[in-house]
Symmetry: C2
Subunit: 271 residues, 2 copies
C-alpha cells in the first residue's frame, strides 16, 4: 500500500486508529477456546466488528510466536483474512526486528512478501545496514523504534549524544538512509512533550503511536504537535479495545470502544 | 544450563566455538532438497559432524521465519535434536528480540520454555523493562547486543553519551538490572580494539563474538583482551563452516573447518 492510499483511507473513515491484535489465550472469552483456532476466531470477530472504525491492524508477533506453529498459523490466517476481505486496511507486523544485512533481508521477505504485511517495526540499534534491507521494498513501510512508551525507553533513548538525545540522532541519521521515504517512526503517546521536537525533524513522516488506553497516553496531547496536514499519525490501542469485555459479546464491546476513539479522532481531524 | 556446565564443556572440548545454523535453501547442497525437511536434514548432518568440536549452536531465527511454518517446524526439530542427542551443547536463539514488558515475557516463554533454548539474543534499545523479563528465567542466558560486527554498528553504538560511548552505557546500565548474572553480551570480532575497555566493565561475563571467518574478524585479536580465566568467550562462525562445501561431502568439509578453528582455540586455551 502506498502512502496516498493510507491517507485516503484516513480521510474516508475519519479515523487514524490502529488496533493491536495481541492475542493472549488466558484473556480471550472462554467460549472461543472450543474453536479449532481460537486465536484466529478471536481476531476474525474483532476485525469484522471494527474494520470500518480502524485504518490499521497491528499483530504483535511475540504473542503468536509464543504459541509456536499454531501461533504462526493463526498469524498467517489473520493477515490473509484482512488482505482478502478488507484490502484497504494497513497492516503492521509489530516484530521489532533488526539484524545484519543479509539477515534483515530474510526478515523483510518473511513479513513483506510471504505474509504480505504493509509495514514492520524495526529496532535501530544495529544501524544503517540493519534497516536498509527493509527500506528496499517498494510500497512497504519500515517503522523505526524511536522513542518508546515503556519506562525503560528512558534508559538509552534520551541519553545525550554530542549533538542531541539519542532518539533524535536515530531520527536524523535514518533520514540519510536509502529509501528513507519508506520510513515511519514509533513514538510513544506517553511522551507527548517530545512531539514538537520530533516534528521539527520529521515534519511529514507518519508516526506510529502506541500507549493510549491501558498505558495511559493522551490522544489530544499527541495530536497537538503530532498531527500534520495528511494526519501523519497512526494511534494504536490494543488491550483497552480487544479485552474490553470477556464474554460472547466481546466483539460488540470492542466495537463500542473503537467507536469512542474514532469519534474523538473525527473531532480532532475536523478541527 | 548453568554457567559452570558451559565452562566444563569448554574445558573438556578445548573449544569455545559456536556454530551459526543460518540455513539458506539456495546455498545448501542440492541433493538435500529432495529430503522431506531439507533444513533439518542439513542441520542434523552438520551437528552430527561437529558436535565434538563446538560447544554451542546458534540458529539465527530470521532464516527459519523466512520459510514460515515449514521453517518454524525445522527450527523445532533442530533444537529438539540437539537437546535430545547432545544435551551438553549450549543453544542460542539468535533472535534479537526486545519489546515492552508483557511482550518480552511472551518471547522469553517461546524461546526458553517451549523451544528450550539456553540463551537468546536481545536488543537493548527499549531498556530495562524490555530485558528483565528474559533475565527472570533461571539457568537461562540473555545475550545483549552491545557492539555489533556490522558496519551500521558504528551509527549509534559508539556515539558519545555524557559519560561514555553508548555501548558502554548499555553494559554498565544492564549490570544494574535484576538477575544481571544471567547476562552475556554480543561484541563483534571486527572490533578487537574495544575488548580491553569492555573487559574493564564486565570482567567475568561471557561474550558472544560473531564476525570471525566470512566477516573478517581475527580470533587472536579477540582473545588477547577478551579471554578470562573461565574462557568467557563464545566465538561464532557460520558461513565459513556450514557452507564450506556444497556437495554430498558438505558435513565432512564443515567438520574440517570446525576442526581448524577448534585447534586454534586449543592452542590459545593452553597458552
Amino acid at each position: 500500500m502506498n502512502r496516498q492510499e493510507l491517507i485516503n483511507q484516513i480521510q474516508q473513515k475519519k479515523s487514524f486508529l490502529c488496533i493491536g491484535l495481541d492475542v493472549d489465550l488466558t484473556k480471550i472469552p472462554i467460549h472461543l477456546l472450543a474453536e479449532k483456532d481460537p486465536i484466529f476466531e478471536f481476531n476474525k470477530q474483532l476485525i469484522d466488528a471494527t474494520h470500518h472504525l480502524a485504518v490499521a491492524y497491528k499483530p504483535n508477533i511475540a504473542f503468536y510466536e509464543a504459541y509456536g506453529i499454531k501461533g504462526w498459523m493463526a498469524l498467517e490466517k489473520t493477515i490473509n483474512y484482512i488482505n482478502t476481505n478488507y484490502p484497504e486496511i494497513f497492516t503492521i507486523a509489530d516484530a521489532k526486528r533488526g539484524d545484519i544485512g543479509n539477515t534483515s533481508t530474510r526478515y523483510a521477505k518473511a513479513f513483506f512478501e510471504d505474509l504480505n504485511f504493509d509495514a514492520i517495526t524495526v529496532a535501530p540499534y544495529m544501524g544503517k545496514d540493519s534497516v536498509e534491507p527493509f527500506l528496499a521494498f517498494e510500497n512497504k513501510n519500515t517503522i523505526l523504534l524511536t522513542l518508546t512508551s515503556n519506562e525503560g525507553g528512558m534508559d538509552f533513548q534520551t541519553l545525550k549524544t554530542p549533538k542531541e538525545e539519542l532518539y533524535k540522532s536515530v531520527l536524523k541519521t535514518s533520514l540519510t538512509w536509502k529509501n528513507a521515504d519508506n520510513l515511519m517512526f514509533v513514538v510513544g503517546a506517553t511522551r507527548p512533550e517530545h512531539f514538537k521536537e520530533i516534528r521539527a525533524i520529521v515534519p511529514n513522516h507518519f508516526l506510529l503511536v502506541p500507549g493510549i488506553g491501558a498505558q495511559g497516553g493522551d490522544l489530544k496531547g499527541v495530536c497537538k504537535y503530532g498531527l500534520t496536514k495528511d494526519c501523519g499519525l497512526l494511534v494504536n490501542s490494543s488491550r483497552s479495545i480487544i479485552y474490553a469485555e470477556n464474554s460472547v459479546d466481546f466483539a460488540k464491546k470492542a466495537q463500542q470502544e473503537a467507536l469512542k476513539i474514532q469519534q474523538e479522532m473525527e473531532t480532532i481531524l475536523e478541527y
